[in-house]
């Protein structure tokens, strides 16, 4: 899948302090039935977005004025639960390009990286600072692996391995790399 290249992203954050936001909240299973990758953004956080009678829930952050932005900031253990990549697609499709948390579930992290959505893992203290600073914009700099709160100047490094960093900066995905390694894979099979 092709996604846009990622270098420096500046945006207001969308703050969701809840912890353990799981994949069933990000996109409930009943919306997984389409056979394409498109359109999942509409059902992102569906059961929080809409009340039971189908009306938009005005209390939910994404329905508020300050719920617009490209960086989602969430409490620890974001993306736990199922392996559904639809969770990453829905977040990307909604317009987010990065998710910031102090802790990510493994499969979600991989899925996000495979779809051009950058998971930025920060320290619990830094996360707290973002929540406290509120709406000040954030700057995520992937080449330098830093995240900065614009208004206060607070800055922190985040980790990402060089391979994945290159992939995101250039808009490549793993499959291109693996396909270019087919000879090595065949050789491995023969030598077993």
């Amino acid at each position: 899948m092709s996604f846009s290249k990622f270098t420096i992203l500046e945006s207001k954050p969308v703050l969701m302090p809840a912890e353990n936001i799981d994949t069933d909240q990000i996109i409930p299973a009943r919306f997984l039935k389409t056979t394409t990758r498109k359109g999942f953004g509409e059902n992102l956080f569906h059961d929080w977005m809409y009340s039971k009678n189908g009306e938009k829930n005005p209390e939910f952050i994404l329905n508020k004025e300050n719920g617009k932005g490209k960086i989602l900031v969430a409490g620890r253990n974001f993306g736990c639960g199922s392996s559904r990549e639809h969770a990453a697609w829905a977040i990307y499709d909604h317009g987010f390009r990065a998710v910031v948390s102090s802790f990510f579930a493994d499969i979600f992290r991989n899925n996000a990286l495979n779809n051009g959505l950058l998971p930025v893992q920060v320290s619990p203290e830094f996360l707290q600072k973002i929540f406290e600073t509120g709406e000040s914009s954030l700057v995520v700099n992937l080449p330098e692996k830093t995240i900065k709160i614009s208004s206060t100047g607070d800055c922190e490094y985040f980790e990402i391995n060089t391979y994945k960093q290159d992939c995101l900066i250039n808009g490549y995905d793993d499959i291109d790399f693996l396909l270019s390694n087919k000879d090595a894979i065949e050789k491995f099979e023969q030598n077993r």
Partner: protein
């Protein structure tokens, strides 16, 4: 250098290591189902790439399917289309597919081991987080996303970073009325749902090695609920005798050779782990969850430690004697023959409670057949139950088996997230025995307080 069983399997599957990056990991077995594969196949088509090793991928449909009248076409179009797509895609690419009604059809993590496709010392993946189940046989098995499904279809490999290693030992003897589900719910309630993130777990100890393969699968199945990539148990005679004679298991001289090799597969005595935990089997009691993640579990007779609005529970209250509306026996956690044996044995000679809706959903057609062969079907029907057809069913509410808003369901599945079993559904996770007791009495019941049938 000494190695854990995890190191040994991992190292023997590395095709290539990228400096300061992940490894190219070779994948032995790949399972696919209708929900997470269609986009992977369309991705392949867009790139004009063929499936690289079709004989190493196996397909079933399970997530979307109805659990009654499976001989009829699937009514709900949005469920039918993904199933039709899977049939189309597997045919086109020469992949073995067990469609609805096929004697090998069932929930992906139930049929793999039953058919002997899952063996020992393998790397196994599937676009489903509970792929960790297959670790019970001494495999590195983990769930992947759809982009990764596409990678495996295209190259039989994945790019993976090696996780850290955790050892969880459970020693001692289990108390009566305590099952494997209780062990894993106990562990998760102590360690929390993110304690395993970044880790691959090895379960060991005398209480683990005395478990049957079905029980080991229940444990490994839920290792993902701690956030771990997966969990495994070193293979032993119990593993080998389970696999012997299965359809895809090696035969004759190949079998002998395989077992010789598998016997070597264990962690070295002084192998190192990043983290270790110890549990005593005697401390494990029948468990139940009171909240909306699998870590929110407690012994069934304790008091709720914190108020949970979604569940409608207040701090300090007891759950025993709470009215239950639904009971679900099934899923890749507890939908195997042993679970049906335990349930049937409990309800034998008793009668189903009138005001409880009970879904008994075998994990596969093989389980369904075995239920009848062992006469459990008659026992269950005699107690007022009906048996449905295989599928994921109420585990994730993608078909019609949904628990209504605010209704309580004792479920033998693995996740109690908000809305998992249907919008507003309130899920209490438990083992098959607690499920059976609720189905008979209509309330949360501590199985230790009931005289049990001697099996």
């Amino acid at each position: 250098m000494s190695k854990t069983i995890f190191d040994k399997i991992w190292d023997s599957h590395i095709v290539k290591q990228i400096p300061d990056g992940p490894s190219v990991l070779y994948i032995d077995r790949h399972y696919i189902h209708e929900v997470t594969s269609p986009q992977a196949f369309s991705g392949l088509e867009k790139r004009d790439v063929k499936v690289f090793r079709p004989s190493q991928t196996f397909a079933t449909c399970d997530h979307n399917v109805p659990t009654i009248n499976q001989h009829l076409p699937i009514k709900d179009e949005s469920s039918r289309i993904p199933v039709e797509k899977l049939a189309e895609n597997t045919k086109k690419h020469g992949i073995t597919y067990f469609p609805l009604g096929h004697p090998s059809n069932g929930v992906v993590h139930i049929i793999g081991p039953e058919l002997g496709i899952t063996q020992v010392g393998m790397t196994i993946v599937c676009g489903d987080s509970h792929t960790s189940t297959h670790g019970a046989f001494g495999n590195i098995a983990f769930g992947i996303g759809t982009s990764e499904v596409e990678m495996v279809l295209a190259t039989q490999s994945l790019l993976q970073t090696k996780p850290k290693k955790m050892l969880i030992q459970v020693n001692g003897r289990l108390n009566d009325s305590v099952c494997a589900k209780d062990i894993i719910l106990h562990i998760i309630s102590k360690l929390g749902t993110s304690s395993g993130t970044g880790f691959f777990i090895e379960f060991a100890g005398s209480a683990i090695s005395s478990l049957s393969m079905e029980e080991r699968m229940t444990i490994c199945n839920m290792s993902i609920e701690m956030g771990a990539r997966g969990g495994l148990i070193a293979p032993d005679e119990i593993t080998f005798s389970y696999l012997k004679g299965r359809r895809y298991s090696p035969k004759g001289a190949d079998w002998q050779k395989a077992v010789e090799k598998w016997k070597e597969l264990k962690s070295d005595r002084d192998a190192e782990y990043d983290t270790k935990y110890q549990f005593k089997a005697e401390d494990v009691e029948p468990m139940i969850t009171y909240g909306t993640n699998p870590g929110m579990g407690m012994a069934i007779d304790s008091i709720v430690p914190e108020t949970n609005e979604y569940m409608g529970f207040t701090k300090g209250e007891k759950l025993t004697e709470k009215k239950i509306d639904y009971v679900f026996l099934g899923s890749c956690t507890n939908g195997r023959i042993e679970d049906f044996r335990a349930f049937a044995n409990f309800v034998k000679g008793r009668k189903k409670a009138d005001d409880v809706e009970v879904w008994l959903v075998p994990g596969s057609i093989m389980v369904e057949n075995e239920i009848e062969k062992e006469g459990l079907g008659d026992v269950l029907r005699g107690a007022g139950f009906e048996i449905r057809q295989p599928g994921c069913s109420a585990c994730l509410g993608m078909n019609d088996d949904k628990v209504p808003d605010k209704k309580y369901c004792i479920s033998t599945s693995n996740r109690n997230f908000e809305g998992r079993q249907g919008p507003g559904a309130r899920t209490l996770l438990a083992g098959p025995l607690v499920a059976a007791a609720a189905a008979i009495y209509g309330i949360v019941t501590d199985p230790r307080t009931i005289k049990q049938n001697i099996s």
